[in-house]
């Protein structure tokens, strides 16, 4: 793996109950670049971000963030490390009892001894970067989905983190909001040199900004490379995913008995249950 990796994941195993989510996943996230992590829904992309952020502990394997193993640090160290991370949640997760201004000011008030007027300047700078300086007095319930995500972005960059994680930033956004977000992510990366992880299943948007892509499925990495390389990759699963084909290695049908047997059973009055076992 490359020497300038900001995050190194080696042989990660993780399961929820009896369901295996990661089964020997390894990847390296280069420093100061935008890395896209893509894969069908339900492959544990969000779980991966939570493991990197130390909110979930892997069953085995190691996750090194800037050389620190997230599974081995103490609770206090973990909170210390997280000050250098920013995460944009899919639901934006703004504090509903605080205004836009106070939401962005929150991490600054918690972690810095700055006087009020410096906090004000910083918050307005961050809000200006996402174009919402004028919305500072609104409450999260008064914002549209796209605006809420931009406020959450301003909050995530409030402490100038080294690592920014975006969880499905494009989902549910209209084309204009999507364009704004793409430009913002790109510009923030260029301006601050932050290491970025974009978790998404929107291929075109992610391909357009990412320097490197990982495709995960069935708990492991099935494809890695630059967007251009993956575009012409000829493994069937990656082709199906990159070109959005409805059927292929990932089947269209949820596992079930054959159609004929289901109909025959209905005719014999055996009810609605699937009795495959």
């Amino acid at each position: 793996m490359s020497a300038d990796a900001y995050i190194e994941i080696r042989d990660l195993h993780f399961s929820r109950g009896t369901r295996k989510i990661f089964d020997g996943l390894s990847m390296a996230i280069p420093r100061g670049r935008i890395t896209g992590i893509m894969g069908p829904s339900g492959t544990g992309k969000t779980t991966l971000l939570r493991i990197i952020g130390g909110q979930l502990k892997p069953d085995s394997g190691s996750v090194l963030v800037d050389g620190v193993d997230m599974a081995r640090v103490s609770r206090d160290q973990l909170f210390e490390l997280r000050k250098r991370m920013g995460m944009l949640f899919q639901s934006s997760a703004l504090f509903t009892d605080l205004t836009v201004f106070e939401n962005v000011a929150f991490p600054l008030r918690e972690h810095t001894p700055l006087p009020e007027d410096s906090i004000r300047d910083l918050v307005l700078m961050k809000l200006n970067a996402v174009g919402l300086r004028g919305a500072r007095d609104l409450y999260p319930s008064q914002l549209s989905g796209g605006m809420a995500r931009r406020v959450a972005l301003a909050r995530a960059i409030a402490l100038d983190p080294d690592l920014l994680m975006y969880d499905e930033p494009f989902t549910g956004q209209d084309p204009i909001a999507m364009g704004v977000l793409i430009t913002l992510i790109k510009n923030l990366n260029l301006a601050l040199g932050t290491t970025n992880i974009v978790v998404s299943h929107d291929i075109h948007e992610t391909s357009s900004i990412a320097d490197q892509l990982y495709v995960i499925a069935d708990g492991r990495v099935i494809g890695a490379g630059s967007p251009a390389e993956l575009e012409v990759d000829d493994s069937p699963l990656i082709r199906q995913f990159m070109h959005g084909r409805p059927d292929g290695p990932v089947p269209f049908h949820f596992p079930a008995s054959t159609l004929e047997r289901d109909f025959l059973r209905a005719a014999s009055g055996a009810g609605n249950r699937d009795t495959r076992s």
């Binding site: 952020g53 991370m85 639901s91 997760a93 008030r109 959450a152």
Partner: protein, 276 residues
């Protein structure tokens, strides 16, 4: 019945007993694990170092947990006090002992009803609100995002609520007692015409600071610790869905009400002891 079929029946019976025991064991283990989680949460929250601005958070919680519970506490106290006075008066008047209404009322309230009824009302009014609020914060990922910002939700969200509950509830119980005794006095003295001198001096003679007031206050502090602990943990542990929050809120009220009644018995036994 042949020997073979009897053996099958027996085997099936043994299997179902084993399954039952296994289920029971799993349930007990799951409960114990939850208890462990709840204890760790409580411990971390209580010892989380306060920081600049935390006092403001505490004051806000005392307002929403304590001050906003005042109306229901005062109304219930007044009606309970007056009902007790009414019952005592009609019974005691048959023996010509109307003067004992005051002392009976005070003892019943200070020792038992004050802390217990306040506890039940507090669980319903404040406990459920705490659970619902924290549960919603969890399901909208606000707790998660706070964690990812390096801010410990146990310190920022849980600790102020725990402390506010422990501070507010004994005060609410004290207010409950005062209002209920006043309600009793209104009924017994003003309305039914019992002798005010007998009412108040009987009370003054019978009530002891430690034995009645002190031990009653200890009860209300213990109830407060358990109610807020249950409420906060149920919120923190809630399944992040609409039904999950509903279930957690119900559990808070049911669990803390039962807890208050059970603890009350244990505390009465322990503190007033030697009944035999």
């Amino acid at each position: 019945m042949t020997a073979g079929s009897r053996a099958t029946v027996f085997a099936r019976f043994a299997r179902s007993i084993a399954a039952l025991l296994q289920h029971l064991g799993a349930q007990v283990l799951a409960r114990l694990a939850k208890l462990g989680q709840a204890s760790v949460m409580w411990w971390l929250a209580i010892w989380g170092l306060p920081r600049r601005g935390d006092f403001g958070l505490l004051v806000r919680q005392i307002y929403s947990i304590g001050v906003l519970s005042l109306i229901i506490i005062v109304l219930s106290a007044f009606s309970i006090g007056s009902v007790i006075a009414l019952q005592f008066y009609t019974q005691l008047a048959r023996f010509g002992a109307e003067d004992a209404v005051g002392l009976g009322l005070a003892l019943v309230l200070l020792r038992e009803l004050g802390p217990v009824v306040t506890g039940l009302l507090f669980a319903g009014r404040a406990g459920s609100a705490i659970t619902a609020e924290i549960g919603l914060m969890k399901s909208t990922e606000q707790l998660s995002s706070m964690e990812m910002m390096g801010v410990d939700p146990l310190r920022r969200i849980v600790a102020p609520r725990l402390w506010a509950g422990v501070i507010s509830m004994p005060l609410l119980a004290a207010i409950f007692n005062v209002v209920a005794i006043y309600g009793g006095a209104v009924v017994a003295v003003q309305w039914l015409g019992s002798d005010p001198g007998g009412f108040w001096s009987g009370m003054q003679d019978a009530v002891e600071v430690w034995e009645d007031l002190g031990k009653g206050t200890i009860k209300s502090i213990v109830f407060a610790v358990f109610i807020t602990w249950i409420a906060v943990f149920q919120g923190y542990d809630t399944e992040p869905t609409a039904e999950g929050i509903g279930r957690a809120t119900t559990r808070t009220v049911v669990l803390s009400s039962v807890m208050v009644l059970a603890l009350d018995f244990a505390l009465t036994l322990g503190m007033y002891g030697e009944f035999k």
